[in-house]
Amino acid sequence: MVVTLLQTWTWVVVAIMVVYAFRHWRFTWNRISARQRPYYQDLLDSELPPVSIIVPMHNEAAVAKKLLDSLVDSNYPRELLDVIPVDDQSGDATPALVYEYAQQYSFIQPIYNLQGERGKAAALNRALSLAKNEIVLVFDADYTPGRDLVRELAMAFIDPEVGAVMGRVVPRNNAVNLLTRLLSLERSGGYQVDQQARYNLDLFPQYGGTVGGFRRSVVMEMGGFDALTLAEDTDLTVRLFINGWRVLYANRAECYEEVPENWNARFTQLRRWARGHNRAFFVHIVPLMLSKKLSLVQKIDGALLLFIYTVPPILLSGIVVNALLFYMGAIPVIPGIIFAFFVVAYNAFGNFAPVFEVGAAELLDGARERLLLLPYLFYLFLFNSWAVTTGAIDALGDFIKTRRANWDKTKRAGAADAAR
């Protein structure tokens, strides 16, 4: 009985992997061979909308200067810009830095949250209540937007059906060490192929919360951001889709970010993502499947997207179950082999980009030597799986106890970056 149950579970794990394999194979095929769906950046003669830019900051002194300089340098007309850096109880020089910029530039109007609720969702809610414009863009403090980026993102909102837009994230510190190089591969697969294919196929592109924007009125009508969540981006994406809004992906709108440079920072980041994403899964899966504004294919893709951070714990459970079956002398050979192959092929869980998706993305990006790093992605497998599993366990606890999760901020290496 126990053996049958364990063997069945192995087959279930393999079935889940096959479903994802098909999904990502289709994405990769679509991205590299099909006609790409154009974005809105070619609407050059359209009137530019006024835009509010929110930058939540907590101890960002090492990186914030670069971002603020980039926004000052943006070619978007300043009279249409309203930049709101939200200092979220920083203990470093962030408030002073923000104040300095506010003194120099009238379109930078910071908010200082000295006490009360902390975290990105709370910071966004605070800024939203003060934002002047309907179109709101959000950047993380470690991001470096190019001169055209604000325009490229804002143009999408000329379409009245668009609720949110997401740009492409490109690591700027990818050459620091093996971790940053591997994270760069992972990001390529996740954005260049995965997000673009979902946009092409009219499925479920995700608003990622770090280089993107949304309509203020829509978010306010939906009650703002859920302060209980650590993944306000996934939360917003699903709520927008359920309410019939469209979320776009702008592959051309590239923004540079700083990826974690050490394993501890990466572990914390992944765990936080998994915690927030899995909470979104628990909260939204039923409303998503019952939504009358989505097609069946969109519902399935949305469910698979929400389920992504549950897959690594399932994979780990597959290893444990296989070990138990081996101890008992009942390991099933065929699913065991398929399982092992998928474990190696599905090694990047950040955006759950399998190795062929990453390979396709790197080819499209014009990379060559970086392709030789593909086998090293397997190096991340156990690390990612464990980080995501701990996050999933946290999320389950949060959901059952309806407790508030603490925002474990990713440590920035900006200062070291500047020194380099």
Binding site: N322, A323, Y327, V333, V344, L363, L374
Partner: protein, 274 residues
């Protein structure tokens, strides 16, 4: 003089139509967000005959490769003074020759010691963070599998696999791996702008590489288990078994993709626009 003045009109006939901008599209490489790869469904479908050819080759050669596995393992075992006794095992379209081999018995003191050492090592690696996290996690996985096997042996008395069953499992796993691998590799190959020969070579190389890998690994496992005890058996199979077979696929895949990247660089016009 007048003739000279009229020369420009003579040498520049009025074009019948405006020049095409097609040339421009071939000169200017599209931004990476607009690019597509020169792949077609027909090209992708050529993977199917390539997979079939390799599958037929595997079916034809499997018996010899499996015999080689058994022979080499026996040779290594004999060299290590490990007593072996092969027996026939008809399976699918082949008859494998697994073997029983002598394995040392671990008493409860040894099992307890292994459990304690493994747990202490896991704890030490959790605290001592000088080693990169993925390496620590990998070592921990091995230690936990070994500790788990020792605990199971302590509680139940014996593992589910004895030497004969393990040997049978290894040979069957090798056969299934060779049969599944071409399909798996074919899925990868079908996506990219490989030529038919590149597709075939990619699939052949991964399977061909796996045959000696399986032969050497099986002999090593027999030698290790013959010298130690069954405590390490689970770890050897789960970590260095099929998982190890899959890694070379990615290695060859990355090498072949580098070739594709080179050819794309040389033939910039092959990039598709939107």
């Amino acid at each position: 003089m007048s003739t000279r003045a009229s020369e420009p009109n003579v040498s520049k006939p009025t074009p019948s139509k405006l020049p095409s901008n097609r040339g421009l599209r071939e000169i200017i490489t599209p931004h990476r967000s607009y690019r597509r790869l020169p792949v077609t469904s027909t090209g992708a479908l050529t993977t199917i005959p390539a997979v079939i050819v390799v599958e037929i080759a595997v079916i034809l050669c499997a018996q010899k490769a499996l015999d080689l596995m058994s022979w080499f393992a026996s040779l290594v075992a004999a060299n290590e003074h490990i007593a072996t006794r092969p027996f026939p095992d008809p399976f699918l379209f082949v008859t494998t020759r697994p073997m029983t081999f002598a394995m040392r018995h671990s008493d409860w003191i040894e099992l307890c010691a292994v459990i304690v050492i493994c747990v202490l090592a896991v704890l030490a690696l959790s605290i001592w963070t000088k080693i990169a996290a993925p390496v620590r996690f990998f070592i921990n996985l091995n230690l936990l599998l070994i500790a788990g096997a020792a605990l199971y042996l302590l509680l139940v008395g014996r593992l589910g696999y004895d030497s004969a069953a393990f040997s049978t499992l290894m040979l069957r796993t090798a056969l299934f791996t060779w049969l599944i691998m071409p399909i798996f590799v074919g899925l990868f190959a079908s996506l990219f702008p490989f030529t038919l020969w590149q597709r075939l070579l990619f699939i052949v190389i991964t399977v061909a590489y796996d045959v000696p890998l399986s032969i050497v690994r099986y002999a090593l496992f027999v030698a290790i288990l013959g010298k130690t005890s069954s405590i390490a058996m689970t770890d050897l199979y789960l970590v260095f078994g099929p998982l190890l077979d899959a890694i070379p696929i990615i290695c060859f895949f990355s090498l072949f993709l580098v070739q594709v990247a080179r050819s794309l660089e040389e033939r910039r016009a092959v990039w598709g626009w939107l």
